[in-house]
């Protein structure tokens, strides 16, 4: 088994307890929250039917049905709360994955840097671990949606719900799910590719800080700001109507794509240089 895979497994192993906790919180909050929301709705319906005896069909014709999307929006805090928690945890983990090697009682970074393998494998393994954890949570969310739908169908009688509750239109229209799972696979690649670029830039900034300490911290912040400015400036110039950048939307898209690839290459090159020549424990 090569060194890179071993390092990835090590990084995943070091985070798995916290990651499992995040998954557990997501499962309990989303399923439990949706269950409580649907029970509350049914209690309201049954209470009304006790006071005014009638069928579910009569109730639906008077008060309307409860579509799956409305049920999910009523349980929004339970559904999206853990999503936000997971995003926050993974954002923190982007920094933690490097700094915990340096901080603490033992400087674990010293042992990692002394391994008889290319130092960039450390960088790649950490990047792979972050990407895997992000995609793992996205996959969990995709798998959970049919479970939510089944729970909804189990608790809400057929007379009180629409005949069809397709999941794909729900994901396409919901602002949070639409962001997590973009409408097309090409957008999925582009959005998560932009995420990989962002993580790479932050990793480079962290390596600058670890290499040059306070000066590196300033350099890292400047590097991150400069990278963001390079990516955003063509969009600002085009939307402000500047004649100097009268380009077509497709050209702007390709320009952004090109800038992204260049920034990725620069970040990886700089990171490689810092890892091989400058980083200290």
């Amino acid at each position: 088994m090569n060194r890179y895979v071993k390092l990835v497994l090590m990084e995943m192993h070091r985070f798995w307890k916290l990651y499992a906790a995040l998954i557990l919180v997501t499962l309990v909050s989303q399923l439990g929250g949706l269950y409580l929301t649907l029970r509350k709705y049914m209690n309201g319906v049954n209470g009304e039917l006790t006071l005014n005896p009638q069928t579910y069909t009569d109730y639906a014709s008077r008060f309307g049905k409860l579509p799956f999307e409305i049920a999910m929006s009523r349980a929004a805090l339970w559904i999206f709360g853990p999503v936000v928690l997971c995003i926050a945890a993974l954002l923190l983990y982007v920094f933690l994955i490097w700094y915990r090697d340096w901080l603490g009682k033992n400087t674990f970074a010293y042992r990692l840097l002394m391994l008889p393998t290319a130092r960039m494998n450390l960088f790649w393994s950490k990047l792979t671990a972050v990407i895997t954890f992000v995609l793992g949570l996205v996959a969990l969310q995709i798998v959970l949606l049919p479970v939510h739908l089944t729970l909804y169908r189990t608790l809400i009688p057929a007379a009180l719900r629409p005949a069809e509750s397709p999941l794909v239109p729900f994901v396409r229209h919901d602002p949070i799910f639409r962001t997590l799972v973009p409408p097309t696979f090409l957008e999925f690649i582009l959005y998560y590719g932009a995420g990989v670029l962002a993580v790479t830039i932050v990793f480079t900034a962290i390596l600058l800080e670890r290499s040059f300490r306070l000066k590196g911290l300033v350099g890292g912040i400047l590097y991150t700001v400069a990278a963001a400015a390079i990516l955003v400036s063509p969009i600002i110039l085009v939307t402000s109507g500047a004649d100097s950048l009268a380009i077509y939307p497709m050209e702007l898209f390709l320009l952004e794509l090109g800038l992204g690839v260049i920034l990725l290459a620069v970040s990886l090159g700089l990171s490689r240089y810092l890892m091989n020549r400058k980083i200290t424990v």
Binding site: M1, E69, T132, L135, G136, I142, P169, H173, L186, F188
Partner: protein, 410 residues
């Protein structure tokens, strides 16, 4: 080894879940519709694109329907959304470098020798006044060279609130650029003017400024409002500039908070004219709808169809159309069509094409379309929107469909 298997299983879980979702998303289609022929020539409806909304509660999906199929906004690809639409797709394809910039802010002329772009830039000096710069670009199609000119508009006349280009035509080595202006007069009634500037292509200098007089329409205590007449292909050389002129009562401030806005909203059109400016002679004529006062509740649409102008008025029950010859302002023919002529509950929208008037009709559950020859009123096409799924669910799908309007693709 155990860790490796766990990690591999996790990777497979990620790939299968995300992959399955995108496979399902690509095969999950919203209901499909199309425009089908009832009678007439199918080709007549080819340029029609009907805009609609499909209600799949709690969502509303925006879609367009043609004779071939329907296309939902939410199902459009990323590249389609990035590309967007251009008001001049053919020119953008052929002269992509020259057509850079915001095409909605400019006027274009596309003749055999040149492609011309005229655009007004506003540099605000304060909230009311401004300096206006006319940007003109001329592409010589033979040499493929572009000549760009910037001219600051003369300021010795009245101070203008805004200026915008409304048309550009060529007369030999000069360009005729129609510019609409608006200046605030002391009585607070805004004053619109239409200028025709003569610009020398070789040096970019303005050699003449003809202020088209609206005196024949001016009445004491009344305000004029002008707007351009829709021309399906405004980039083609044209001998005429058409303006729709309305005489409105001046709004009075009732003193209440926001009173002016209230008064403006209550402002009514008292008289209306169609003004025809002849570029070759620099003279103008005008046409008026026979009724002395515009009828309430009628939608007014004017359309230039080459050497003719169609002036139509429509409500849900009928359409009145007058077709004038521009060369001598003579009425060529007129039509009056009622909803019963189409076995429709009401007439909801109309659009124009070359010698064609298209009507969108409400008839029970299936919205219909009719195309008429504007020269003789003959119905050349009738069609209706149908669900591609022709079984029971198709009927429900049609009930969930709400048609908003339509356009004619040129």
């Amino acid at each position: 080894m155990k860790r490796l298997w766990a990690a591999a299983a996790f990777a497979v879980f990620i790939a299968i879940s995300i992959g399955t979702y995108y496979v399902q998303a690509s095969i999950s289609r919203l209901p499909q519709f199309k425009l089908v022929k009832l009678d007439g020539d199918e080709a007549e409806a080819t340029p029609l694109v009907i805009s609609a909304q499909y209600f799949q509660l709690p969502y509303q999906e925006i879609l367009s329907i043609s004779t071939k199929d329907s296309k939902y906004q939410s199902e459009s690809s990323l590249l389609e959304r990035i590309q967007g639409t251009s008001p001049y797709p053919a020119l953008t394809r052929e002269y992509s470098n020259f057509m850079r910039g915001n095409p909605y802010a400019a006027q274009y002329l596309n003749d055999d020798d040149f492609l011309v772009r005229a655009e007004m830039e506003t540099v605000r000096t304060n909230s009311r006044d401004g300096i206006f710069r006319l940007h003109v670009a001329v592409l010589d199609k033979k040499t493929n060279r572009t000549h760009r000119m910037v001219t600051t508009m003369p300021v010795d006349g009245p101070k203008y609130n805004w200026m915008r280009t409304t048309d550009v035509q060529r007369a030999g080595s000069h360009l005729k650029i129609a510019v609409q202006t608006n200046s605030a007069t002391p009585d607070a009634a805004s004053k619109e003017e239409q200028h025709i500037y003569d610009l020398n292509i070789s040096d970019g200098q303005i050699t003449a400024d003809q202020n088209i007089s609206f005196k024949p329409f001016q009445r004491p205590g009344k305000m004029l409002h002008t707007s351009n007449v829709y021309d399906a292909d405004s980039t083609q050389p044209d001998k005429y500039l058409l303006l729709y002129v309305t005489v409105n009562g001046i709004p009075r401030d009732n003193g209440a908070a926001g009173g002016r806005e209230t008064a403006v909203a209550e402002n009514t059109v008292e008289q209306e004219y169609l003004m025809i400016y002849h570029y070759d002679t620099g003279t103008m004529d005008f046409l008026s709808w026979p009724e002395s006062k515009p009828e309430a509740g009628l939608v007014n649409e004017i359309y230039q169809d080459g050497e003719y102008v169609l002036w139509t008025k429509m409500n849900g029950n009928e359409v009145k159309l007058k077709r004038y010859r521009l060369a001598d302002n003579q009425l060529e023919n007129e039509l009056q069509l009622k909803k019963e002529d189409f076995q429709a509950e009401s007439i909801s929208h109309m659009q124009f094409g070359k010698n064609r008037l298209y009507l969108l009709l409400k008839t029970g559950e299936k919205p219909r379309v009719a195309a008429l020859d504007t020269r003789d009123g003959r119905i050349v096409y009738r069609g209706e929107i149908a669900a591609k799924d022709s079984n029971g669910s198709g009927k429900q799908q049609l009930r969930n469909l709400e048609v908003h309007g339509f356009i004619v693709m040129q």
